[in-house]
Symmetry: C2
Subunit: 471 residues, 2 copies
């Protein structure tokens, strides 16, 4: 396993977790006491120990992804060979096959990336994530593409995700019609399991370009595999920086002392606040447009990993600062004491935007002039944090010194590790999702897949409605 | 007050509410009994009566907006005079000043509207909602605009919203630099209170084009005012259709019989499920890309109207079908029994997308061929609805026969009316938001606004942190 070089130069780019406002000193009775947190410290040390053992036995492969330098090399090599070849990149994938890529795209590309002139994208294609099967949405996407110069990256670990396979069939047919059978292959790229599944079979028999989802890595833990990294590399994102950040965080998350280990601390505090203080909702609220989708990625990670049988599981909620101060804050401030807020702050934005001095006679505008938009967003975050705390609404803040591949890599790895840690505290398996299998079988039944006739009958009979309850 | 003409021809476009799965017959003990719902019928009738009285006294002006034909005429007239003049339309506004317009835009424009060639937008400008003050986001937006041909629509009811005023100052300065003081006025359009506020003063002294937020209509109830309708009209959306749909729904929401009144029924059921069954979260999950932002609009409406002092208030959550089946469904299916799901279904999409038959030898793909994407999304919604219900997860479905201005108008009006109805049940004032005032004052303090020095000192002293709680 590798180590991080140049640790000292990177220390200035370390993200921090400020959990003052999760504690009773700030949030009074709604916060945790040091004693409570220390009480879980022993359990936390055990979990850390178990995690290290499982990891050594290869049972937590997602934790070692940041050290797969060969994988990144392959990805970059592929990206180099196709550079300049495509105008558009479309990812066909849903859930964990899309959310990691979407997060990297929005976090690390300039805003309005797809609207930039090609020159400002440095020869990289526009990028679209087709993560739904709405006929109007998918039709609309195909309409605006130049299909002949579009690379379709099909992602499905199982190789049989109904939504992605349906999209693939539509796109394949379209490509063959436009380019002919042989040439159409150049517009397809597959990422799926190394050996099993329908998509792997197709890949082999048709000789399509392909990458592999590593064994034992599920969709929501796949951002540091070709699932997340290929779309990133194809649009010029610094994949090495991401992995370097993740490795750096790995070092912090191995610390024995729970009070110094951000993953253990975050997981333990959120768990305790749920089971002892009834904070069953976790709001993630970045003060940064580029991290809006991070909250969606986290939402899948936290919900699907921890929401399990027998009615266990906190509910993650996505929000955006300052925007949602004008939408959700009233509820957070005065409503039920059932939420923890995780603020994500960015210390140094890329741009500084001065607010010009004007209207000296108008008191309600004058105070703004001479400041920057940067100061305003920081002031609002501080004001929100402070007034929530004063109202005994627990919250914590993760601060990124700046947003780049290295700091984002840290943040993603921190949240993944905290999730697995929380899984042990909640005593659930964070890597399965048995609750959604039934819906898939019912869908197969309705669509007439062989062997699912019984499901079709079940929904036909069980799904009956009373007319009086439809108005 | 007007009446809806051609009721009969429109009946086929009436949206429906299917609440079977909120009831005990479907969802067992987690659902409501007829007796419970009937028990609130008497209270509901009183509330209906009170609402009609308050409305007659002009205390619920949002309810009469759909009848303001003069307002729509003015809006359309303005839109006509500027047609073809601008390449881009930017709305400077936040919260209720943005969410209505965003909802209409995404619901009624083609997907990827801003990426369409100008010809396909029928001479209408691209549209952008600047609803945050992230310096990188706002800078990025200004970068991609042709500022000289951009209309900036500044929306703030109070005329002193800090975020919007800061954006306005930046844009104003930029316009004056590019176009000169006089010509810059043609690129500004103001919507604010009729008489009061700093923005109204500026409007008057500089002779800017302007519209009015009607008296007594707050941001989250303003979609049927120039706040929502101007951006819509300027981009070619059918405003009359919207209002006609709202009027049609008004008729249904006046019905005395709670069992036939969709607003009363929805509000009563969600209220009872919260207070008697612990369903404190309301998930809105449209199976339609174009309605993704409707869930954001609803989220403000429900949270800010009902989340009030003394820890009252349900938490609304946005989701998207089928996408979130691969992200949130595991939690909804097996996690705590603390949620109600409102599905939004669209019966007839604009496009039909066939899934080609292919790979007859591959069982995991073959069943899809010959169907349409439309059938697949419908099957998944049904399967999800059925499996949630089987697991005693209460849910209801609002079905739009198709998505257009008339049906969307119905849906928006239904949700607004249900919210006010729910306000009476929760015994809160749905029109205020006192909890966010403190944060605004603290922001003023930090930014040095006159008269708020005490707030600056308060946050400086009260916001102290322990270093040991920052890792």
């Amino acid at each position: 396993m590798g180590t991080v070089k140049n640790n000292t130069s990177k220390t200035g780019l370390r993200i921090t977790l400020d959990f003052n406002n999760l504690m009773a000193e700030s949030a009074q009775g709604e916060g945790l006491t040091e004693r409570e947190l220390s009480g879980t410290a022993e359990r936390a040390r055990q979990i850390l120990q178990e995690m290290q053992e499982r990891r050594a036995q290869g049972q937590l492969p997602f934790m070692d992804l940041p050290y797969q330098r060969g994988m990144v090399k392959e990805i970059k090599e592929y990206a180099r060979t196709v550079q300049g070849k495509y105008t558009d990149l479309v990812i066909l994938g849903i859930g964990g096959s899309a959310l990691g890529g979407i997060t990297l795209h929005h976090a690390l590309h300039p805003p309005f990336y797809n609207l930039l002139p090609p020159g400002e994208r440095k020869g990289c294609p526009r990028i679209f994530f087709a993560e739904n099967i709405d006929p109007d949405g998918f039709h609309g996407l195909l309409d605006i593409l130049e299909v002949r110069t579009t690379l379709f990256h099909v992602i499905s670990k199982s190789g049989e995700t109904a939504e992605t396979m349906a999209q693939f069939l539509i796109v394949k047919d379209l490509l063959v019609k436009k380019l002919g059978k042989k040439r159409s292959r150049e517009n397809l790229l597959i990422t799926t399991d190394a050996a099993s599944g329908w998509l792997r079979q197709i890949c082999r028999s048709e000789g399509l370009a392909d990458f592999t989802v590593p064994q034992g890595v599920g969709g929501r833990f796949s951002v540091f595999t070709p699932v997340g990294l290929l779309p990133a590399a194809l649009t010029g994102i610094d994949c090495e920086g991401l992995l370097s950040g993740a490795r750096f965080m790995d070092g912090l998350c191995k610390r024995d002392d729970v009070w110094k280990n951000p993953a253990a601390l975050l997981a333990a505090a959120l768990y305790l606040l749920d089971v002892r203080r009834g904070k069953r909702m976790v709001v993630m609220m970045p003060y940064c447009d580029a991290l809006k989708d991070l909250a969606y990625w986290f939402r899948q990670l936290w919900a699907e990993s921890l929401g399990k049988k027998d009615e266990v599981g906190p509910t993650p909620i996505n929000a955006l600062g300052v925007t949602d101060q004008h939408s959700q804050l009233q509820l957070y401030m005065e409503g039920p004491l059932d939420k923890v807020i995780i603020f994500i702050a960015v210390k140094q934005y890329q741009k500084t935007l001065p607010i010009p001095r004007a209207y000296p006679g108008l008191e309600g505008l004058r105070y703004l002039g001479g400041h920057t938009l940067n100061e305003l967003i920081a002031a609002e975050r501080m004001a929100t944090e402070y007034s929530l705390t004063k109202n005994r609404r627990v919250n914590c803040t993760v601060t990124l010194p700046e947003l780049n591949a290295f700091t984002l890599g840290q943040l993603l790895y921190l949240l993944e590790t905290a999730t697995v840690f929380a899984g042990s505290l909640y005593q659930v398996n964070p890597f399965d999702q048995p609750g959604v299998e039934e819906g898939k079988k019912l869908t197969y039944g309705i669509m007439g897949r062989k062997g699912y006739g019984v499901k079709k009958r079940e929904i036909k009979e069980g799904g009956r409605k009373f007319k009086k309850y439809i108005i």
